[in-house]
């Protein structure tokens, strides 16, 4: 559960001016939701998370995390949220277990040993618990940092670019784990500039660049900007058939593409769920062979780039 109201952060800049990092941000994230906070480098994502975890104070505006107010209930907020910081910041000279033990104690965890073991096992680091973290790979350090963020079983979890700098295998592991956490009912706030990740992981996405540009589900985001398109793969599409589809009252736009294996009709529709069947019926009546029907998915990247460049 998270809510911000006109949350703003300015930093003093060396030339005496100020940098507006976060500009009057209004956000709401429901309990149990995975929220993707998407934006290019320097968009203000880390600054926002730092404010929401009571690490730095907002310049103006208000925010509530787990019903605690930022600036007033800072200790309660720190007690009840977990954070994966941008860099793991592990103590390289200490063992994995020692690193976690220290944080479990600082987080006032009752069963320190038990919690440390639970998460080391869960992320597959139990066998390496006595190794110094300095010898760990980037992916292992990141996993350890995730353990550290979870030791006190926070209801709300902030992940600041959890897969940046990881190889694809480690990134997949981290993402799979986030999906698992979601099934436990935790609210998860993910900073990312990785569109794919946001698309696959998040229930809602906020696109940010100083200001919040848009908030919606990944599907709606695509739809809102491009409408929905369906691709009909046909063995052959004679011009008469194209005209026939174009003539249907609910069809907004038709494109015909010719490929080696056949022709593709790309049809823009408002509600493919109810409109596809009548198109298919018409095509069959016209004696055309339908090979495949599928929804044309715009990548979120296109949506994102068009928003950012506005």
């Amino acid at each position: 559960m998270l809510k911000t109201d006109q949350l703003t952060k300015q930093f003093p800049a060396p030339n005496g001016k100020t940098v507006l990092a976060v500009d009057h941000l209004d956000l709401e994230v429901d309990e149990g939701q995975v929220f993707g906070f998407l934006g290019p480098n320097g968009a203000g994502k880390t600054t926002t998370v730092r404010m929401l975890t009571s690490l730095i104070a907002p310049t103006s505006g208000e925010a509530w995390v787990n019903r605690y107010k930022v600036g007033r209930d800072d200790r309660e907020i720190r007690r009840t949220v977990g954070i994966l910081t941008e860099s793991p910041g592990m103590y390289d000279r200490l063992s994995a277990e020692k690193n976690l033990t220290i944080f479990a104690r600082l987080y006032e965890v009752r069963d320190v040993k038990g919690q440390v073991e639970k998460y080391l096992r869960m992320l597959g680091l139990w066998d390496r618990r006595d190794d110094v973290v300095g010898n760990f790979s980037k992916g292992m350090k990141q996993k350890l940092a995730i353990c550290r963020a979870l030791l006190h079983e926070p209801k709300m979890l902030f992940l600041d670019e959890p897969t940046s700098g990881l190889d694809p295998e480690a990134a997949k592991l981290v993402n799979d784990f986030v999906r698992e956490l979601k099934t436990e009912g935790r609210t998860i706030f993910i900073n990312t500039h990785n569109l794919d990740e946001a698309d696959r992981l998040c229930d809602r996405i906020g696109v940010m660049k100083q200001k919040l540009l848009i908030v919606d589900s990944p599907q709606n985001l695509r739809q809102r900007l491009y409408g929905r398109k369906v691709v009909f793969h046909l063995r052959q599409a004679p011009p008469a058939v194209v005209e026939l589809v174009k003539g249907l009252p609910f069809v907004k736009e038709v494109q015909c593409l010719t490929t080696e294996s056949g022709d593709k009709l790309v049809v823009a529709l408002d509600e493919p769920e109810t409109q596809n069947p009548s198109i298919i019926r018409k095509l069959v009546e016209a004696g055309v062979d339908i090979q495949f029907v599928g929804e044309l998915r715009h990548t979120l990247e296109e949506v994102y780039l068009s928003l950012i460049n506005k």
């Binding site: 690490l55 730095i56 910081t85 941008e86 390289d92 200490l94 020692k98 104690r105 600082l106």
Partner: protein, 261 residues
């Protein structure tokens, strides 16, 4: 309280894996204790004469009834005790320079600050982790020094001089005050630099006054008595108040995350 202990535990686990720090904490007190004992012992065996002429004439006043070798030995003890006062400065600086600059460069302060620890608990934990080994090493070294002189110096009045109020005040009261100054100084310097060695060297400006007194005593300019020590205690209380205030102001969550580069 548990959080302070956790920080101390963490600091010690981490910092004593560092050879430079270990060297300072173990070797420095060892050298400062063994060296004067060796010198005192050679003076015993060399017989009268020795180094008397090198002693500032003003110092003989401090010797009271003691003459010749015995007076020189008192002088040696006074000189080395001053060097001893460098321990509560050098050890905390070594520890906290590495601990704070180290955390800064590895970005480990941010996850630490995200826990429900208060800033006061964090400073206290770090400060105590640096000051306790320093004060411990100073006190243990002092004890060894006392016992060593008892055994090695034949004139009992000479070794008794170590238990003068001067040095009891020095070791018991001034020592911890110096350690507090050293810790605060390291915090202040560490906020500005990104190399522990530089932090250590800059913080060591604190030893200049102690060295000043050391050479002042050789030159006969300064006579160290209980009054002088009490004055030093008063000065250090003021210096500590100023340095701790500055250190605490710099060691704020927001400042650490936004201004420490």
């Amino acid at each position: 309280m548990d959080k302070i202990l956790t920080i101390i535990d963490k600091e010690w686990a981490e910092v004593f894996k560092n050879r430079v720090v270990l060297f300072t904490v173990v070797l420095l007190p060892l050298v400062f204790t063994i060296m004067p004992l060796v010198i005192l012992y050679t003076m015993e065996t060399a017989g009268p004469g020795g180094a008397v002429s090198e002693m500032p004439p003003e110092f003989t006043r401090m010797c009271g009834d003691l003459r010749g070798t015995a007076c020189t030995q008192v002088f040696i003890i006074y000189q080395f005790m001053l060097l001893f006062m460098l321990l509560p400065l050098a050890i905390p600086v070594a520890i906290s320079a590495y601990s704070i600059v180290g955390e800064k460069t590895t970005h480990s302060l941010e996850p630490l600050l995200a826990t429900p620890i208060t800033t006061a608990e964090l400073i206290l934990g770090k400060g105590l982790a640096a000051a306790i080994p320093a004060i411990g090493a100073t006190w243990v070294g002092f004890l060894v020094f006392i016992l060593g002189t008892r055994v090695l110096v034949s004139t009992p009045q000479v070794s008794a001089r170590l238990l003068d109020p001067v040095w009891l005040i020095g070791v018991v009261v001034l020592g911890p005050l110096l350690a507090a100054a050293a810790v605060s100084m390291s915090i202040i310097v560490s906020s500005r630099v990104s190399d522990p060695r530089t932090a250590e060297q800059l913080s060591m400006v604190l030893i200049v006054p102690v060295l000043g007194v050391f050479f002042g005593q050789i030159g006969g300019l300064v006579l160290i008595d209980a009054g002088f020590m009490l004055a030093m205690v008063a000065v250090m209380l003021l210096v500590d108040a100023g340095l701790v205030y500055l250190g605490v102001r710099l060691f704020q969550r927001e400042t650490i995350l936004t201004k420490w580069r």
